[in-house]
């Protein structure tokens, strides 16, 4: 039941960071709840163990309720029988006290263990704190009560010890379950990788653990199985579903020599593959690591809350000890212990520390399930505040492109390009090195015409301009790209044009036709309805940009070089945050410069992403959904933090003043935990569900 790649400083149960201390031996838990919940799920499949832990909590609850009933009887007794005989009252009191003692003993036995372990862990890590104080408080309340029962006089506080034990365990356990639920989406991604694989060697086929696989090993993958790590097909042919990695729902046919990404699904063929990435370094693992890292790094606000919590804890310890001393001095030891315990229980650090991380994990996991990868926690909250959305045009608002016409210049023949096919072959030789939509269209056109791309040396991509290479035959520099870059006369027609130059001379032009994405209009309308300003920032000619911008109801800015795009983004920033939506590679600088970069169809290579958010499915309509999710996350975090501050600000002083009974404090703490956890879980479960349904 381990979360995605628990780092040394992360909780072994929920995967969230453990505050303070370095890794020691044995499992590490961030809180009492994780320790308890880890016990419940320790032996997966072992229902007996899980049931026993639940039954433990249930039994403790049952005995605590009994203790409370007898305590209430003790409290109500004087009114029911004000004039009763002293002896009868004494016997009655003694009976009730002993009943309380009898029922609280099992509670201490059942739930005292985890609390004791937590306290011991705190001492070992050298950050004695709330767990230790809780244990001391509960112990003191019990000691006073046992002594009073023994002596047959004085107040008993068994109900305090029991309710605190039950409420703290129940509350932390609810939080731990909540944390586990929010990280579930990421875990389910990782579960696509099998635990064992079929390794084929000289001795035949053996089943071995995935972790023991090394580079160059041969594995057999059967239909219906997931590819365990990045590999290359040695023999066999199959349709491969790469949805988990690329978001592409259409299966891809792959055969000998083709590469496979970890996590992709073999649909129909038996394959023998060679491992090209060691387990843990495969594409899917790198994708998950990128997202998990974002969640783990947290957000600025989370770090702020963490800092405040780090200051808050010692403060709580000081206040608790202070009220213990004060009330002990003024009203006796019992009052002192109760006041101190109430402070610790009320401030039991949960809501404040949990407020942001729970929401962040929930939102990132929820998005990941929809194949939206968020690599930066802060980006989510910035997205919620952003007012301006800038779109790249080619490949973002328009989908694909095809070569509509090939035009040869007079100089073509001089450079050995006798016909259109030769020109397309040369252009395709440059275009194979680029992922730009026009480049892809050129390669498609070459394939359609049956032209073999010319082999070129020193091919380099100039983002926003074009591709350059050197022809093998005469070492002449060859360029394919925009008119301004290739030295061609800029032509402002309705079509996009790429110019091909050889040795500085224009030899031909390729005209492209493009189509607006089918979902672009609905996305633009949805964003506009949310009050967003929409701008098209494009390097393309004015005619084309204006046409697309007008069709989608956006403002359009044409003929922008990459650095000019950066300047425009800076200029637009005055009005709230700027979101840049573009192609993951060509628009890298603009994506990095915007407050939030959103890349479409970034492909499988995580290391090449420059955007904080990636829409793997290559579907623009994920954008309004994401904006809604961000807004909901922002609201939930605000509400959580507000609640945590208000709750602590109101109840800690009251508890310090001795005005809050520890049992009541336990109930308040439990309610606070439930509120924060339930709010965040709603986000994980149905965040943006309405938008999804509307699609």
């Amino acid at each position: 039941m381990l979360p995605p790649s628990a780092a040394p400083s992360d909780c072994d149960y929920c995967g969230l960071p453990v505050a303070g201390g370095t890794a020691g031996d044995g499992p590490r838990y961030c809180c009492l709840g994780c320790r308890f919940a880890a016990g419940i799920t320790a032996a997966r499949g072992d229902d007996g163990e899980a049931r026993w832990m639940m039954a433990r909590l249930g039994l403790a609850l049952f005995f605590t309720m009994n203790v409370m009933v007898f305590t209430m009887v003790l409290w109500s007794a004087p009114e029911a029988d004000p004039a009763g005989s002293a002896a009868a009252a004494r016997v009655f009191y003694d009976l009730a006290r002993h009943a309380c003692l009898l029922f609280s003993a099992p509670v201490v036995l059942l739930l005292g263990g985890p609390l004791l372990a937590e306290a011991a862990d705190e001492v070992r890590r050298g950050r004695g704190g709330v767990g230790l104080l809780l244990m001391l408080g509960v112990g003191a309340a019990l000691a006073i009560s046992v002594r009073a029962t023994w002596a047959g006089e004085g107040h008993v506080y068994f109900e305090v010890a029991c309710t605190v034990l039950v409420a703290v365990t129940l509350g932390r356990w609810l939080e731990a379950s909540g944390k586990l639920r929010t990280t579930e989406a990421l875990r389910s991604l990782r579960s696509l990788l099998p635990d064992t694989v079929r390794r084929v060697d000289g001795a035949g086929e053996t089943r071995v653990a995935l972790a023991s696989v090394a580079l160059g090993d041969m594995l057999r993958v059967l239909p219906g199985e997931h590819v365990p790590t990045d590999a290359r097909i040695v023999t066999g042919r199959a349709a491969i579903d790469e949805r988990a990695v690329t978001g592409e729902s259409e299966p891809v046919e792959k055969g000998q020599g083709d590469g496979l990404w970890s996590g992709s699904l073999d649909l129909d063929g038996e394959l023998l593959v060679e491992v090209v990435a060691p387990p843990g370094a495969g594409t899917l693992e790198r994708l998950i690591d990128a997202v998990t890292d974002a969640a783990r790094r947290g957000s600025r606000r989370q770090r702020l809350a963490g800092t405040i919590a780090a200051w808050f804890l010692p403060l709580v310890v000081v206040v608790a000890l202070g009220s213990l001393a004060f009330h002990w001095h003024r009203r006796g030891p019992a009052a002192g212990v109760l006041a101190g315990l109430a402070v610790v229980v009320v401030a039991c650090p949960c809501a404040l520390g949990l407020a942001t991380p729970l929401v962040l994990w929930a939102a990132i996991g929820r998005a990941a399930r929809r194949q939206i990868l968020i690599r930066d926690g802060d980006a989510l909250f910035r997205l919620a505040r952003a007012r301006t959305f800038c779109f790249d045009k080619t490949g973002t608002l328009t989908t694909g492109s095809r070569v509509e016409g090939v035009e040869r210049a007079a100089a073509a023949a001089r450079h050995g390009l006798a016909d259109d096919a030769a020109l397309v072959s040369l252009a395709a030789g440059l275009a194979t090195g680029s992922t730009h939509v026009h480049a892809r269209a050129v390669v498609d056109e070459a394939r359609r015409r049956g032209c073999v791309p010319v082999a070129l040396a020193e091919v380099r991509t100039f983002p926003g301009r074009g591709v350059e290479g050197r022809r093998g035959a005469d070492a002449a520099p060859v360029r394919l790209g925009s008119g301004t870059w290739t030295g061609d006369a800029p032509a402002d027609g309705p079509c996009a044009v790429s110019t091909l130059c050889v040795a500085g001379t224009v030899v031909g032009r390729l005209r492209f036709a493009e189509t607006v994405r089918p979902e672009a209009a609905a996305t633009a309308a949805a964003l506009a309805a949310r009050g967003a300003r929409l701008v098209v920032l494009s390097g393309d000619r004015r005619g084309r940009v204006d046409e697309v911008a007008a069709a989608l109801g956006m403002a359009g800015e044409a003929r922008l070089l990459p650095e000019e795009k950066l300047a425009r983004i800076e200029a637009l920033r005055g009005d709230g945050g700027v979101v840049m939506i573009g192609d993951g590679i060509n628009d890298a600088p603009a994506l990095a410069a915007a407050d939030v970069g959103v890349a479409l169809g970034c492909g499988a290579d995580v290391s090449r992403w420059s955007a904080a958010v990636c829409l793997l499915r290559d579907d623009l309509s994920d954008l309004p959904w994401l904006v809604d999710l961000a807004a909901r996350s922002e609201r939930t975090v605000r509400w959580n933090l507000l609640w945590a501050f208000a709750y602590n600000a109101a109840l800690v002083p009251l508890a310090a003043a001795g005005q809050v009974h520890p049992a009541l404090a336990a109930a308040a703490m439990l309610a606070s935990s439930v509120l924060v956890v339930a709010g965040s879980l709603r986000l994980a479960d149905d965040g943006g569900a309405a938008v999804e349904e509307a699609r």
């Binding site: 639940m54 039954a55 409370m68 109500s76 339930a678």
Partner: protein
């Protein structure tokens, strides 16, 4: 004190409205049982667990009501105010169930505790069924809170416990039926029962409001149900504060 039959009836009919949330739990308990007899036993243990939690909650509410009444004596007529609040809560619950009022937002959001005791529901032991019932009694439920407020309005420990016991006993038949037979009644019959249940809740709430208002007005606790025949003998002297 409020007359018990109406409370039992509220529980009995009100639980028809609660089956949406707790019914699946009882059903899960049933599917994990082997044979009809063990199922009845397990359902009984489950209901006993719920009842136990309800009675303790009633006791806490009654005790808290008594403390508040004593603490604020001379400032506010706490029992009367609690009766008014409880009545309001129950009327709202009834109107929600009847469909007169619309719930805002998504109702019954994710309850992290709900799935938690699934292990207990799936186990075969009677004790586990009892503990599952114990936890079920703590699940959030508007009807339950209304009844707990009513128990608080009694401002008396035994009366509070009795109020919740009467309500809890009322919920047993519907829950047992849900857990054993799944669907003993047809859809139409259930819809009718649902409607009757909703208005029964409204009625209970109205009784509580009228009593609270009367108490607030007169300063003395009304002896019985204002809608029923005069029950002068029902005024319990022990329930008077002080």
């Amino acid at each position: 004190m409020m007359e018990w039959p109406l409370l039992v009836a509220s529980g009995m009919l009100g639980s028809a409205h609660c089956l949406g949330m707790c019914g699946p739990l009882a059903l899960a308990l049933g599917t994990a049982s082997r044979g009809w007899r063990t199922n009845v036993l397990r359902q009984s243990a489950y209901s006993a667990g719920r009842l136990f939690t309800y009675v303790v909650l009633g006791g806490i509410a009654g005790c808290a009501g008594a403390r508040a009444a004593r603490g604020l004596e001379g400032w506010a007529n706490v029992p009367a105010l609690l009766a008014l609040a409880a009545g309001g809560l129950l009327v709202v619950q009834g109107l929600l169930a009847a469909g007169v009022l619309r719930r805002r937002g998504v109702g019954g959001g994710a309850c992290p505790g709900g799935a938690a005791f699934r292990a207990l529901l799936a186990s075969r032991g009677l004790g586990d069924a009892f503990l599952a019932g114990l936890f079920t009694g703590l699940l959030p439920c508007g009807l339950l809170y209304g009844m707990v407020a009513l128990a608080a309005a009694t401002h008396d420990l035994p009366a509070g416990m009795l109020t919740m016991a009467a309500f809890g006993l009322g919920t047993v038949p519907a829950m047992m039926a849900a857990g054993i037979g799944g669907t003993l009644l047809g859809v139409a019959a259930r819809r009718h029962l649902h409607a009757v249940a909703a208005w029964c809740l409204v009625l209970t709430g109205c009784v509580s409001i009228v009593r609270g208002a009367g108490f607030l007005d007169l300063g003395t606790e009304p002896p019985g149900c204002p809608l029923c025949a005069p029950q002068g003998d029902a005024a319990p002297a022990a329930a008077e504060p002080g």
